[in-house]
Amino acid sequence: MKIRNIVMFLLLFVGFAAFAQEQKMSDREVAVFKQSVNAVSKKITSLSTDFVQYKHMDFLAKDIETSGKMVFKQPNLLQWQYKKPYNYSIVFKNGKILINDEGKKSAMDVGSSKIFGKLNKLIVGSVSGDMFDDNEFSISYFKTKDNNITRLIPKDAALKKYIKLIELTFDKQDATVTQVRLMESSEDYTKIVFKNKILNAKIDDSVFNN
C-alpha cells in the first residue's frame, strides 16, 4: 500500500512537473501566436545568426557538436556554413544546392530531387518560422514561461521517412525561432540552437556564391 502511494505521488509529481514546464496553448493563444510569427516573418528581409548543432544518438557517450553561421535573404537565398570543427558550407540558391567542402566545390539541382526541395523549404521555414502549413504538417502548439513551442509532424510520406517530428522553439519576446529540433526517431535527433541573431541587415548577394 505504502509503495503504491509513493508511486502515485511520484507519478503525480512528475506529471505535475511536466505540466508546470509546458502547457498546451488554447485556440485563442494559437491564433495570436501564429499572427505574431507571421507578422515578424513577413518583415524579415534578411537574417544572419550563429548556430550550434548537436547531433544526439542514444548509443553515443556525448552529442556530436558542430557550429557555424547561417545567413538567409529573401526570397530564397540560404547559406549554411559550418566553421567548427571543419569548414563546410552549403548554399540553397535558385533551385540549386552549392557545396563548398574545405575548398572542394560541387553543385546539384534541387529540382532533380523532390526531397531536397522539401528539405530546403523546411530549413528556410524553420529559421523564419513560416511553417504553419496545415496541408504539410499536423501541428500542435505549447507554451512555457519564456517560449512558445510548435511540434510539426510531416504529412508527406517521403519526408516522414527522414523526419518524424520537427520542434520549433520561439522566443516569446520577438517571435523568432531560437531552437530547432529534428527528430528522426525517439532516440535520435538533431538540435540546432541559434545565437546572436541579426535581423534585416544589408547582405550582399555575393555571400551566396559559395
Partner: protein, 211 residues
Amino acid sequence: MQKSMIRYLTISFLALALLVSCGSNPVRELPSVTVESPVFENKYFSDPVFDYVYKTNISVYGNDLSGIVIVKKIKGNAHRVVFTTDFGNKLLDFEISENDFKVNSIVEELDRKILINTLREDFRLLLREKFQIESQFENETDNILESKDKKKYNYLFVSKNGKKLHKIMHSSKRKEKLSIIFQSENNIFADNITIQHQNIKLKITLNYLKN
C-alpha cells in the same frame, strides 16, 4: 567473320587473364621471417567507451559525397556504424561483427545491394580486431604480417619503428583488392584513414572530428 571475331576476343581475354595472373604478389617476394606473435590486434576501434567520430568523404566513380561517420564498439566484438549528412540526417545505420551484419536503417537512395555489400566488407576489415598470423615478411621499414581471410589474404604493415599498424592490404594470391591506410599518433587511435579500392573507383577517407 563472326567466328574469327569470337576467337580473337577469347584469345585476348585469355592473354589478359594470363598477364594479370602472372603478376605476382609483391609481399611474398620479400624475405620471410619467423612469425613473432600468432595473433595481431588492431586497437584503432577497440575502446567501448569512446565515440569514434570522423568526417568522411566518399568518392565513387567521380561523385563526391560528404558526411559524418560514427563508430562505436558495442557488445562483444560488434560495432555500430552510422553515416549521417553534415546536417545530421541519418543515411545508414548498421551493426557489424566478424560473422554478423544487420542494417538498422538506410535511406532509399542508398539502398543498393552492391553498395551495402561493399561497405560491409570494407568495415568488417577496418573494424576487425584480431588477425591470426600465418607468415611474416619484412622490408626495410615494416614487418608485414600475413593473415588468411577465407580464399584471400590480409597483409598488415606494421612499422618496425614504433610498431604502428599503418596499412592493411586485402589481396588475392596475386592481386591487391583493397587497402586501408592509417595515420596514427599512437598505436591505439587513428586520426586519418583511407579506404582505397583497386578494382572499383571507390575511395573513402575518414578524418577524426575533434570536438
